[in-house]
């Protein structure tokens, strides 16, 4: 298997590591640049306000379900329509080009989003597997979490 020509963003979300192909534009925002969401019934952990528009950031567990935000420092916002959407991350790192070898991967069972499965690849190192997000499905999933 040849090294991938894409670059990948390594995201640690709720203690679990995932990869995201850097085919989409993204920004990394520090907590200071966001305002905490105080609405108790809302799944949104924080907001990023840009020119009068606010983008939600979600705190997710390793199962990608929303959970209360604990001690966090940064969020990754993905460029999307109609609005950008963010994930609170424990760590974020752009892996060097050619460092990863991504294998195709088809998750079993029904897709959890109407955009399809959340993953379409995997980085395999020995017996260890890191799943690779399918960007469209990930954005669709995050946008479906609501405000």
């Amino acid at each position: 298997m040849a090294p991938s020509q894409h670059q990948y963003l390594r995201l640690v979300i709720g203690g679990s590591t995932f990869l995201l192909p850097s085919v989409m534009r993204y920004t990394i925002e520090q907590r200071d640049a966001l305002s905490e969401n105080t609405a108790s019934q809302s799944p949104v952990a924080a907001w990023r306000t840009v020119r009068g528009t606010r983008w939600p950031a979600y705190s997710l567990g390793p199962d990608l379900a929303t959970r209360p935000a604990g001690d966090w420092h940064r969020a990754v916002f993905l460029e999307a329509r109609p609005q950008n959407v963010g994930i609170i991350v424990d760590e974020v790192q752009l892996l060097p080009r050619g460092e990863t070898e991504i294998a195709k991967f088809t998750p079993l069972g029904p897709a959890p989003t109407r955009f399809g499965h959340l993953f379409d690849g995997a980085w395999v190192s020995g017996r260890d597997v890191t799943l690779v997000f399918e960007p469209t499905a990930l954005i669709g999933y995050l946008q479906s979490l609501g405000e």
């Binding site: 390793p62 294998a103 079993l108 069972g109 029904p110 897709a111 995997a122 597997v129």
Partner: protein, 154 residues
């Protein structure tokens, strides 16, 4: 299915919790030891996770989940039986089944194995048939087409 000599059909008995599966040896790529399974968010309950094998991510399935029981979790001595991609699927789509112990090669023509009656079989669309040992133990033959439809419902 792999046949040797004349009419012997070779299969692998895959021990589960209370019963066993019987699969043609020709469907099995390798039996490997259990390692750390990476969880797959929003996966069905019968999917235990994925493991790395030959640079591929291979889903690990608990067949008990298809029999209406609790899914089997990896215990001491558990093995992963890696199956070749199911008919019609892509060449990288290997799947695997969790075995509670080392699988055992058998021959369908072994003395004493008899066809299981329908009443002996679990009422599940994922069961194609079965055999019984002289001791009365059930060996289930899974319906791979039914599994494929559930694995890949799109």
């Amino acid at each position: 299915m792999r046949r040797q000599n004349t009419d012997r059909l070779y299969v692998l008995e895959i021990p589960l919790g209370n019963t066993s599966l019987l699969l043609p040896s020709a469907k099995i790529a390798e039996v490997i030891s259990i390692g750390r399974l990476a969880p797959v968010p929003y996966a069905p309950d019968w999917l235990l996770g994925v493991t790395g094998w030959r640079s591929l991510a291979v889903p690990v399935v608990s067949f008990e989940g298809f029999l209406g029981g609790h899914r089997m979790l990896p215990g001491a001595g558990a093995k992963i039986v890696v199956l070749y991609p199911l008919t019609g699927r892509n060449e990288w789509e290997f799947v695997s089944i969790l075995s509670s112990a080392e699988p055992r090669p058998r021959s369908v023509e072994e003395a004493g194995l008899v066809t299981a009656q329908e009443a002996d079989l679990p009422n599940s669309p994922y069961v194609a048939g079965g055999l019984k040992t002289p001791e009365g133990r059930l060996l289930i033959v899974p319906d791979l087409e039914a599994l494929k439809t559930t694995f890949y419902p799109f």
